[in-house]
């Protein structure tokens, strides 16, 4: 054994079925994970990523098939596997009521580090993660990015041969995400093998190799470039007039021969079938470098069409001069902590407006003040001209709200959820019945009517949550991280509805940390350290950070640069 091991991890015919589930969480997976590279386990929520990683750590055992880690079988040698692997679970596995150094001490001892060897490892890890100034801080009081680093440090203390990270970038802002990738490069240089699971498809292309999972099945295994190769020459950017870009997208998606399309600032990115002739396009086009997501959607047979039945069922909103959402110097203090400070913007009818920012920046606070869930300390928030301080109920009847993680009653059935929310929004009698039937038809919920909504597939949960939020035909729709963790097909379907509704004059406000999602917005406000540091169209923001080093910035580049500039500005102000 041992010497002949070429692969870091070998997965052979692994199936994992949990009791009570009809479908296996993982279905006959066979793959090899090579030494000395970063392997991404990529896929939407509930694809089986976490299950696969837990199987590798031998914290779960396969129902059939087997996994070997550097030649050690997870069924028999779990202790030996734990000696040579470092594992960071979701939520980082830290004791929040222990300090940074106490956490390190615990994991150091558990991994059997002794005396000066331990001191040395601590020293190294603290400087590697730049956590040195915070050793006496409770882990619970660290920011998301710092927790992630501490979790990583704990997993790395014993210098494992294989590092397993389960969704290390969830809840972590783009800046910390970049730092994590830098640290991974350093570790690779030391010969470590890294397995990294993520639902962010843009992270996949940074991995050397990926295992692409969807609904428990392995769709692809190999270098990401090999997957993106299949759409080579089939991805284009179309220049469309700014005004009609959403209608244009809808039409393009309904065009035969176009399998996928998304908004990207003022352009539309499309993926065509091999036999599609781009020359026939009315819009000016340029070829684009294929991305992992393009290939993923293409592998799954393309995205949904461009027509939203939901939007079609909505009458076009009449014109008014009142801004649907307006904030004036909106400020929220919690004690002496300022969560949102002096935030002003006006959103036009039919506009999709995004709030973007790192965790804890104040975007949720701002968002909650706008839908009347929090009272502002200072300033005003107006929805359709109603002040949320005085006319809460009038304002609220105009609002549809879809909370993070789809605020459904998971113990209630689909029909019961629809009944409940229609009642809450004051729909009555025949009209109520008609609206519910319409929602069932539009979102194809018929076959799930009696199922517990907690047990629905994620995509259907999202449909149901959207149905519940729009049933009363609101003027303004609030979406809090609406597509976190859902697969790209479901996300496209969702945005087709949102785009359609915006075209009908519904105003949409969305918080997100997904850059792709932010691209759908007409305008974005970037919230950082409780302040609105930049407002503009996605293209404006990209334009504002264009430089010699960054001739063609992405929205993520813009995000990071703007935040760094704000930090620099603050430092100067303090000096």
């Amino acid at each position: 054994m041992g010497s002949s091991v070429e692969n870091a991890i070998e997965i052979t015919g692994v199936t994992k079925t949990f009791s009570g589930m009809t479908q296996p969480a993982l279905d006959n997976i066979t793959a090899n994970i090579h030494k000395g590279i970063i392997t991404g386990i990529v896929g939407p929520d509930a694809a089986g990523k976490t299950t696969l990683i837990r199987l590798m750590t031998s914290l779960l055992l396969p129902t059939s098939g087997e996994i070997t880690v550097l030649g050690l079988n997870t069924l028999k040698d779990s202790d030996a596997i734990h000696d040579i692997t470092g594992y960071m679970p979701q939520k980082f596995g830290l004791y929040e009521d222990l300090t940074v150094i106490e956490n390190l001490n615990l994991y150091g001892d558990l991994q059997g580090l002794k005396g000066h060897e331990k001191e040395e490892a601590f020293e190294q890890m603290l400087s590697f993660t730049s956590l040195k100034p915070f050793t006496d801080r409770l882990a619970g009081k660290l920011s998301g990015g710092m927790k992630q680093k501490l979790g990583l440090a704990c997993a790395l203390l014993s210098r494992p041969k294989i590092l397993l990270l389960d969704e290390p970038t969830v809840g972590v802002d783009p800046i910390s995400r970049r730092e994590l990738w830098k640290m991974m490069k350093v570790l690779l240089g030391q010969g470590m093998s890294i397995v990294w699971s993520t639902s962010y498809l843009d992270e996949a292309s940074q991995c050397h190799e990926v295992l692409l999972l969807n609904e428990g099945k392995l769709l692809f295994n190999g270098p990401p470039s090999e997957l993106t190769k299949i759409v080579d020459g089939r991805v284009f950017l179309l220049d469309v007039p700014e005004k009609g870009r959403r209608t244009a997208l809808s039409n393009l998606l309904n065009t035969k021969g176009i399998t996928d399309g998304v908004l990207q600032g003022n352009k539309i990115r499309i993926v065509c079938k091999p036999d599609f002739s781009i020359q026939s396009q009315e819009y000016p086009w340029t070829p684009a470098v294929p991305r992992f997501e393009d290939a993923f959607v293409d592998t799954l047979g393309g995205g949904p069409g461009g027509t939203s039945l939901l939007a079609n069922s909505i009458p076009k909103k009449g014109k008014t001069h009142i801004a649907p959402i307006q904030t004036e110097h909106l400020t929220k203090m919690f004690g002496d902590f300022t969560a949102a400070s002096d935030i002003s913007f006006t959103i036009r009818r039919g506009e999709i407006f995004g709030l973007l920012g790192p965790n804890g920046a104040g975007k949720s606070t701002t968002f909650k003040m706008l839908c009347g869930l929090l009272q502002p300390t200072k300033g005003k928030a107006l929805v359709s001209g109603h002040d949320l301080k005085t006319a809460t109920s009038q304002a609220r009847s105009q609002i549809g709200y879809m909370a993070q993680k789809f605020s459904l009653y998971s113990d209630l059935g689909v029909k019961e959820n629809l009944d409940f929310f229609s009642g809450v929004y004051g729909l009555r009698g025949n009209f109520r019945k008609k609206r519910i039937d319409l929602m069932i038809e539009i979102f194809a919920l018929e076959s799930y009517l009696s199922s517990n909504s907690g047990l629905l597939p994620l995509g259907y949960k999202q449909r149901l949550a959207l149905a519940c939020a729009v049933m009363h035909d609101p003027d303004v729709l609030f979406l809090d991280e609406p597509t976190s963790g859902v697969d790209p097909i479901t996300r496209r379907e969702f945005w087709t509805h949102i785009n359609g509704m915006a075209e009908k004059g519904i105003t949409i406000m969305v918080t997100t940390h997904f850059m792709e999602e932010a691209e759908y917005c007409d305008r974005i406000a970037l919230i950082y350290q409780s302040k609105n540091i930049a407002t503009g169209t996605p293209d404006d923001l990209k334009e504002s950070v264009k430089s010699k080093d960054l001739p063609n910035p992405t929205l993520e580049d813009a995000f990071i640069t703007l935040i760094e500039r704000s930090d620099m500005h603050n430092n100067e102000a303090h000096v």
């Binding site: 750590t57 779960l60 779990s78 202790d79 004791y95 001892d109 558990l110 991994q111």
Partner: protein
């Protein structure tokens, strides 16, 4: 379980101890809650009834009847409404204003003097069996005292119509506090052992720390011991606190041996901790864990331990069930050790039962816990 490492074990033990000290909810359950319970059982709950409202219907106005009336009004157990009107008293009884009515009939003193059977009538409200029994018993007691007095004063030779020979041992004043306070120790230890352990382990599952810990080289035995030992000492600490309160504040007598108390407590704690451990292997959310812990730990300690409700007066299926739960054995030992002293005939069988059931729970939880997540 091979390769036990003291380094890992102490690291885990230390972490657990720091968490106990830092977490206010642990102190709350281990020290504040027991004090509140002791306070409630010591002052608030009393199973002794006094000042029971009764009516005294006087149909006989002779001096001896008067003297009997005085005997009834003089006792602290009764709050007496004297009347000559039978209907009024009977109405009050049906209305629930009175717990009972004592009737001194017309021929009472005549019969008494003649030496024939003199009888009192006692009417009680049977819809509330407990107070009804109290009224009956107390009325008998009053009568007994009164006739005794009569005998001494008059030195009469007539034989007494009633001869009640009730005597109460060990708790001569029948103070329920003296039974309740030792019994509440069993509840408190169940809380710490079962509820707290189940909660803290469920919390590790919820926060994902258990997963991280399990992926290190740590062995199951190290986790178990590292978890159990701090809570064992926490339980003992809480016991000492409660014991001091019981003895010094409530003056509950302690007639047994502290060594035996310590031994039994330790064994009971181990049984309770293993039960908590077993629950936490089945329920991985704090919500479910606390529900289960209360149903299988806390409620049996109150209802099936003989602490408040007398086991011998339960229907037999329920009596049979009480044998399955540890609290009844512990309460038996506690009561004996506090009120009687060291009675091996009671201690040994109960202790054996504790050991057997404790070992079963410990064995079950060890079997259930493996270093895997499903």
């Amino acid at each position: 379980m091979s390769g036990f490492s003291t380094q890992r074990f102490f690291a885990y033990l230390k972490k657990e101890s720091i968490q106990i000290i830092r977490d206010p909810s642990t102190t709350l359950i281990a020290f504040v809650l027991p004090l509140i319970l002791m306070f409630i059982f010591g002052y608030g709950v009393s199973l002794d009834a006094d000042h029971l409202p009764i009516g005294l219907l006087i149909e006989d106005t002779s001096p001896s009847a008067r003297s009997l009336e005085a005997a009834f009004t003089g006792t602290p157990y009764f709050e007496v409404t004297t009347s000559y009107n039978r209907t009024k008293l009977e109405d009050d009884l049906s209305a629930g204003l009175l717990r009972g009515v004592v009737v001194i009939p017309q021929d009472f003193s005549q019969n008494l003097l003649r030496g024939t059977q003199a009888s009192l009538q006692v009417l009680v409200d049977g819809s509330e069996p407990n107070p009804a029994n109290f009224v009956l018993n107390y009325a008998q007691g009053v009568l007994k005292n009164w006739t005794d007095q009569l005998l001494i004063e008059k030195k009469n030779i007539f034989t007494l119509p009633i001869d009640v020979q009730a005597r109460v041992w060990f708790n001569p004043e029948l103070k329920s506090r003296e039974v309740l306070v030792p019994g509440s120790l069993a509840i408190i230890l169940s809380l710490i052992g079962i509820l707290l352990t189940a909660l803290v382990i469920a919390r590790e599952w919820e926060r994902g720390t258990m997963e991280a810990i399990m992926s290190t080289p740590i062995r199951i035995s190290e986790i178990l011991l590292g978890k159990l030992i701090p809570y064992f000492f926490l339980g003992l600490g809480s016991m000492v606190l409660c014991l001091s309160v019981a003895i010094f504040l409530y003056d509950v007598p302690f007639r047994g041996s502290f060594l035996i108390l310590f031994m039994t407590t330790s064994i009971y704690l181990i049984a309770a901790l293993s039960q908590g451990l077993l629950i936490s292997t089945l329920a991985r959310s704090q919500f479910v864990a606390s529900q289960v812990a209360i149903i299988v730990g806390f409620l049996p300690a109150i209802m099936l331990s003989g602490f408040i409700f007398e086991i011998s007066s339960m229907p037999w299926p329920i009596q049979a069930i009480t044998y399955l739960f540890v609290p009844r054995y512990f309460v038996d030992i506690l009561k004996t050790t506090f009120l009687t002293g060291t009675v091996w005939e009671i201690i040994i069988p109960n202790l054996m039962a504790l050991i057997v059931i404790g070992a079963i729970f410990l064995g079950l939880s060890l079997r259930r816990i493996a270093k895997v997540l499903d």
